[in-house]
Each structure stands twice: as C-alpha cells, then as structure tokens.
C-alpha cells in the first residue's frame, strides 16, 4: 500500500467519549489512509456507533483528538458533515420518493447545482443499470438495488470519505459481492471507505481492520497481518477470541 502519511483521511489519537461514568470509547488511536478500505469491527455494544458518531461530526468527544478529511472533530464538525458520505442499513434513502427524486434531494442537501445533479444522475443511473427504474419508488426496488443506489447517493457530492454502517446486512450473497465491487471501485478512485459489518468474510475484503472490544481497539492491521500475529485461521476466529471474554461482562 502506498499510503502517503500527509494525506491521512482519518487521524484519531486517544479519542475518548464518556456518558456519565460509562466510558463508551476509551482512548482509541488509529489512522486511515486516503483511498483505503478500513473495516471497523466490534461486538454489539463495544463502542463502534459512538466512535462513528464522533467521526461523522454528530457527537463531540470527551477527550483526545481526531481529524476527519483534515477537519477537527471539535471545532469543524459542520465541515466534516459536508466532506463525508454516509449510509447505513437502517437509514439511507426515502422509500416513498422515486430514484430520481432521492438523487435530487441529496443533490440539494449538498448544494450541487442543477447541472451537476442532472449530469451525475445520468451517470449514476447508467452505471448502475437503473435507467428503466429512474421514476420508480425506491420501496419497490429489491433490497440489493436499494443498497447499491444508496451507496452511490452517498457518493453523489464526491466526498473524500464514505462511512458505511452494516451496508450489506440481509443482502443476498451475489449482491453482497457486487456491493463490495462498488466499494473497491470507489477506493480505487481515491475515496476512503470506512465500513462496519457483522459478516466476518467481509472483514477479509478490507485493506486494514480494527477490532473494538469494550471501548478499546484490541487489534489493528491488515487481515493477513492479524491472522499471522494472533496465530488464527480467519478473522472470524480472531474476533471470537478477542470479543468473547468481554461478552460475558457486558449487557
């Protein structure tokens, strides 16, 4: 990997967030290089969601520092929101709007000009093979198509980083792989991809991953490196090894 350090997409140092006496995120430090596919793994309740909320400018940390796309998470969260894309399994598109209306809506939110919206809509529809469905309500698209469209919409304003929160949950195995090809394509074009997943085989698709356990990052590196370092066959095995002892104590 030819990561140029001056171009880190995300830099987090000792990042911490408390809720009362509970430490949701506990001094985590990591960098994500531009154009990297970074898998952010962890058990339910390990602090992933809190960390993502900080990195997307929705929540202030209690202490530590982090810069996302060059902007400070304390003082420049509004800039961060403009520079990033976001999609999740739970919320992505408006189901009662058509494909075209969704694209126009997001174009408006991100201040794109009419011409930009028109050009990018045409390009996106042709690339996804969705020209015939442009005026179809999103709710009547198959889930796999909805997720691919949602990913493209999250990239509409050409963000330098896109955050994907369990983007492939429940999607069939072929569509899941097609979705990952969209991720590779975006990363090859220089977009940084920050992704969470419960599919451990997808962890293997990332350039690097981190595994969070009880607020801390317990493993960080490329999947091959981590398999070697921990002497395990798969990331699934490593995940269970690290997360299982903690699972007994968390609620």
């Amino acid at each position: 990997m030819t990561a140029t350090p001056q171009q880190a997409a995300i830099e987090a140092h000792e990042l911490t967030r408390r809720f009362g006496s509970f430490i949701a995120v506990d001094r985590i430090s990591f960098d994500v290089a531009a154009g990297e596919v970074f898998g952010f793994l962890g058990a339910n309740g390990a602090g992933k969601t809190t960390a993502i909320r900080i990195l997307t400018g929705l929540l202030s940390p209690t202490s530590g520092t982090a810069r996302v796309a060059g902007h400070d998470v304390y003082s420049e969260s509004e800039w961060i929101k403009r520079r990033i894309g976001y999609m999740s399994q739970k919320f992505s598109l408006y189901e009662d709007l058509t494909v075209r209306e969704n694209i126009r809506l997001y174009g408006g939110i991100y201040d794109l000009s009419k011409d930009e919206v028109r050009d990018r809509t045409a390009r996106m529809l042709s690339r996804l093979g969705l020209e015939q469905s442009a005026d179809t309500q999103v709710r009547s698209l198959p889930l796999g198509w909805r997720q691919k469209l949602a990913f493209s919409v999250a990239l509409l304003h050409e963000p330098s980083i896109v955050f994907l929160d369990e983007p492939t949950s429940g999607v069939d195995p072929i569509t899941r792989r097609q979705f990952w090809e969209l991720i590779y394509e975006a990363a090859a074009g220089g977009t940084t991809v920050f992704v969470t997943t419960h599919y451990m085989d997808e962890a293997e698709y990332c350039d690097r991953i981190s595994i969070m356990v009880a607020g801390r990052i317990e493993a960080l590196g490329s999947p091959a490196e981590l398999r070697r370092r921990f002497g395990v066959e798969s990331i699934d095995e490593l995940f269970v090894q690290l997360a299982r002892p903690a699972a007994a104590q968390t609620s």
């Binding site: 889930l143 429940g170 999607v171 069939d172 999947p223 609620s251």
Partner: protein
Amino acid sequence: MPTLASTNAVEIDGLGKRFGATVALENVSLAIPPGELFGFIGPDGAGKTTLFRILVTLILPDQGRATVLGRDVTTDVWDLRRRVGYMPGRFSLYPDLSVEENLRFFASVFGASVEEHYDLIAPIYEQLAPFKDRPAGALSGGMKQKLALCCALVHRPEILFLDEPTTGVDAVSRREFWELLDRLKASGLTIVVSTPYMDEANRCGRVALIQRGRILAIDTPTRIAESFGRPLFAVRAGKRYPLLLAVREYANAGTVFPFGDALHYTDRRDGLMPDAIASGLRDYLRGRGFADVEVKLTAPTIEDSFMARMGEPERAA
C-alpha cells in the same frame, strides 16, 4: 377432514402466497421430522418471514396446505398457538417492561407460570438474571435476543419457530445463540430457524435454500455444499481489486467472486482436469504482471452452492 396424525412435525405441500403483484411464496413443499433442527437459508425478501407467519397461524396461504404437529395451520389455529413457540424477526417484546416482567407476561398469556417450566429456560435466563430489572429496550442486541428466546419458550412449546434470530447480531453473540439452540435440540425440541448468514447453515441438520419465494434445494449442509458440481479454485495474488478485474477478463473464466481472503473461480470449459485449469489461469495472471500467483482447488461452501443455484432462475427469466 379430521387432522391426520402425521409423523412429521411440519408438512408443507404446494404452499403459495401473494401480496398484490408480489409473489412471496411459490409452490413450497417440504417435511420436517420431529426433533430436527431445520434451517431456511436465504436473503431478505426470499419469503422466509411469510412462510413462518403461515406456519404459526398468523396469516393464511393462498394455495396449498401446511400442517404443524399434525394440525392444519388454517383450521386448528387455537390449538396450534398453544403448542408452538415463535420468535419474530423484529424485536417484539415490551421495551418499557423489565426483563422479568416481559417473561412473566408471556407466561401468563399462555396460562403458565415462569416457575412451572423454569428448567427449560434456566440455562438462558441465568445469563439474563443480573439484568432482570432492566427495561428490555435497554438491553444489548445479544441479550434482547436471549430474552426473546426465553419468552418464546416459557410455555414449553412442542416446536419452536425462530425467524432470523441472529440478524444484525455480532459474531460472538451469534455463536452463543447457536450453542443455546444445540442444547434445546438435545432436549428433543423441533426447531425451525431462518437466517441470511450462509455460514450458519452448518449448524442445522438439514436446510432449505430459499430465494424469491422458491426453494432452491433441501438437504444436509454437507450435501448441499458438495452438490456444487464443478472444480472450484481459490485464487490469490496481491491486491484484490486489480486481481478481480484481471480474472474477469480471462477468456475461460466462468464465475469469479470475492470470497474471504481469496477469489473463488470456476472455469467455463467442461471436462478439463483441475491441474490444467489451474496452470492455465496461473500463466495468464503471470502474463498480466501478477507476482506470487496462487491458484488451488478448494472445497465449495454452502454459499458457493447458493450463488450457483440462485444464478440460474435469473438467467432464465
């Protein structure tokens, strides 16, 4: 017609269901013997939830017939409801009632008490006991799921239907959940479970692969994996995306899919020896400038079989 004393726990014959123009289930037939741990494996929208809701008497089929415990799901509704346990896919407990209150509520609905059948739920409930006063809505995903399982078991059902109990749950909680199911199965309970995670199929005695309302295959996980029927290769060489694009451009490529840390490859030519296929692909990739090329035969998994089978109806349509 009186209900026939069937030897199967579930019998489904030609079942169909539509919602408007959408075909949710089409001509589904299968039988599940008592004591089996049977899995429906398929993505969202495959028809799993519709099938479960028919089997637990919540909706009526348009076509065909189904019996559970020898009772017809359209006519023996009240009798069946007392005998089945059902855990719906969406979290369906009362979020503002505590763990213990939820359990007592579900027991009382069935005219039972928690104490009466406590032995059945004890191994699960003991993990929840430290949080028994916590509102169910404030539990973590894994704990919610365990509570929902307790609530589905509290009246000691003769058969258990679990609709996607592990969706959205982390790999550790998923594993623990399947260990609980193994224990329940050992007690003789028939368990019917659905999941979109292909790797979980191996936890079941037999599985049905389901896609767009149709059953693609019914068999043991091992036999379904083995039914793949073509030599399958794992390909590794440097960066994955350039490798994927290059292999796709290979003239002899059949299917090429990312799979774990490798690509899974089948050749489109029939009757060739695996060694010839592998060395041909190796030479091609070296010619394309890839170093450290590794092409080796690999055992197909359920997921490979699923992808091979789900591809077919799409091409035919």
